[in-house]
Symmetry: C2
Subunit: 191 residues, 2 copies
DNA sequence: TCTCATACGGTCCGAAACAGACGGTATGCG
DNA sequence: CGCATACCGTCTGTTTCGGACCGTATGAGA
């Protein structure tokens, strides 16, 4: 079938499949509260992408009330078929992590030890916070059956966050003490 | 200082800082063997980006032997300063995972259970393979002191891969049996 | 009543990023 | 001699991306 479809296309198709007919604004919010956590989409795309999908016959647009230009998009049979075909087909690509912190760590030898310490501290805090957010979501929706199936990705997110947290914590423990030794003399210069 | 710098810029600066003066081709190979594993860069950028950095005064180009248009780039003082400043400054952005598999999982209810099973199997295999590659690298370079500091990111990569592997494995265990039950009747239709 | 802030709802555009086709040159090897 | 395989790099047309910008409701407080 059409192979001009990007991940973004499937995000749109999938979200509409799960939530029923939606406007672009609905998509924007839905994505913001779910997929947006691990994959960033500029919202402009959620306005242009549905248009394309209409042209491809995968969505139908239903313009309501001329006054406010709001279009509700619903899945066509072709759209649903396309989505299901995608779900059924093998997934070749390996995941990509775009992690500025990892980049900095890679180049750490160019900088100072204290930069690594600071970086690690930041990351520990950031991942802890993220974990708190995820656990909160998990707790809030735990009983709702409708979202139960989507929760599964949350678990993956949590696993990844915990792994990262473990890494940065242990790095901090390894490098922290020596960094303290390195920094203290500046402050308590006496020695 | 200049804030028109993208992650790619820092990859170039950082790589040159670590390896010494390099041509674009050198960068391409170096990136391919390291950062490329977790962050994809189209190689064309490793030809255009250094140009920009020269214009910004962060790199110096040294054209050698007119015949073959090969340019070796070396870090200027400004370039090194910029890189170190970047390493020292806080890192606001949270990491992004672009994982098609996670996307598919998120929309799994639209598809069949067996799609999830297949997906999980694929992912288990893929992550295992990735882990093998990483461990191989780790073993090969374990003794070389020069790369020892870079190895640290490998550990992070491994942590992440292991976390993902754990997730997909346990998912497979949970959903696998019922999927088998779901599929068997088709084959052994009797019941 | 004014006016200020905040959510709602959306368009637009220039600048990067991106994929990948394309072009050529050494080098070796059967 | 012919072919394959690294090596080395350019170019081009799309997409993606951020984010500025533009309005309209709505309610809350001065």
């Amino acid at each position: 079938m059409a192979d001009r479809l990007s991940p973004t296309s499937y995000v749109v198709l999938g979200t509409i499949a799960l939530r029923g007919p939606s406007t672009s604004y609905d998509l924007k919010r839905a994505v913001g509260r779910s997929i947006g956590y691990f994959w960033h989409f500029p919202h402009a795309q959620l306005y242009s992408e549905p248009q394309r999908l209409v042209e491809l016959g995968l969505l139908e647009a239903e313009t309501e009330a001329e006054g406010r230009r709001r279009r509700t998009f619903r899945l066509t049979d072709a759209g649903l078929a396309e989505l299901r075909a995608w779900l059924a087909e093998p997934t070749p690509e390996h995941f990509q992590m775009r992690d500025i912190a990892e980049l900095k760590l890679f180049f750490n030898e160019v900088g100072e030890t204290r930069d690594v310490v600071r970086l690690a501290r930041e990351q520990v805090a950031a991942h802890r916070e993220r974990i708190a957010v995820y656990e909160d979501m998990q707790a809030r929706y735990a009983d709702l059956d409708a979202v139960a199936k989507r929760m599964i990705t949350l678990r993956l997110g949590l696993e990844m966050e915990h792994a990262a947290l473990r890494f940065w914590s242990s790095l901090l423990e390894e490098v922290g003490p020596s960094a303290v030794r390195q920094v203290i003399p500046d402050a308590a210069s006496g020695s």
